[in-house]
């Protein structure tokens, strides 16, 4: 929805918001497409610990927290970096860049060991018993 609103705002020149093009693409490609891929794969891929707790799913939770906070900070700070003289927005934009990268890193750490063959999954389960 956010991406679509930004898409509409892009077409209304009278609004004159700066730096909306990268925000439109990133809310669409990261905020929606990437996030839905990450969410569905975390649920669907084999080897998930089905006991719900933060410690059992800490990398997945970290990916979610970093991605959301990184994107929100980016949406706020990216246009403001272009129009404001305050260096605070620059700092926030840098923080958002690190958060988004940490989100990807956390997701890869969680999902990499779960990209396994059926045989390996059975062996893993057998070993766990």
């Amino acid at each position: 929805m956010g991406s679509l609103v930004l898409g509409i705002a892009l077409q209304v020149e009278a609004l004159g918001f700066p730096g909306l093009v990268p925000l439109f693409w990133h809310t669409l490609m990261v905020g929606w497409i990437t996030q839905i891929i990450m969410g569905v794969s975390l649920w669907m891929f084999p080897g998930r610990n089905k006991v719900e707790s933060f410690s059992n799913q800490k990398w997945a939770w970290l990916a979610y927290i970093f991605l959301e906070s990184g994107l929100i900070l980016r949406i706020i700070s990216e246009p403001l970096v272009l129009v404001s003289v305050s260096s605070a927005w620059k700092v926030i934009l840098i923080v958002s860049a690190f958060f988004q990268f940490f989100a990807v890193m956390s997701y890869v750490i969680e999902i990499w060991p779960r990209v396994i063959s059926k045989d390996k999954l059975v062996r893993k389960k057998f070993k766990g018993k």
Binding site: M29, A97, Y107, V108, S117
Partner: protein
């Protein structure tokens, strides 16, 4: 999860990580232009994100998750399926190299042809797997 899917998904995760790293450097550069040349990597960032991550991950997962053939219980021609990650990744690398100013104009064209061949191969391998198990 079959080998083809594991190769494609793991490769897609590598592209995702590399592309996110490039994106992080570009965003930091937007706040503090310490190294403006990083913007030359924008086409690589886009190529890796769209073809390397989103498309490759989707194709790899679809190969694993779509219904298998009822008669053989298999996923069709395994060798043709293994050509998918090979062609796609060669295509991605060629397109990425074409943006580096090597002067080889045919790199991007060859890369796009390989990517298109991957999609044609994917469609031909999966068309008959998009089925309902219902008799009607």
């Amino acid at each position: 999860m079959p080998d083809v899917s594991r190769w494609m998904i793991r490769m897609s995760l590598v592209y995702f990580l590399v592309s996110a790293g490039i994106g992080m450097c570009m965003l930091i550069n937007k706040a503090h232009p310490y190294f403006p040349e990083v913007w030359l990597l924008l086409p690589v960032h886009i190529e890796f994100m769209i073809f390397g991550w989103v498309i490759q991950f989707t194709l790899g997962t679809a190969y694993w998750i779509l219904p298998r053939f009822l008669d053989t219980k298999g996923r069709g021609n395994g060798k043709a399926a293994m050509a998918m990650p090979v062609l796609l990744n060669m295509g991605i690398v060629l397109v990425a190299l074409s943006t580096s100013g090597t002067g080889f104009s045919y790199l991007a064209l060859s890369g796009r042809i390989l990517e298109a061949l991957t999609v044609i191969l994917f469609i031909s391998l999966h068309w008959k797997r998009v089925v309902s198990y219902s008799e009607s």
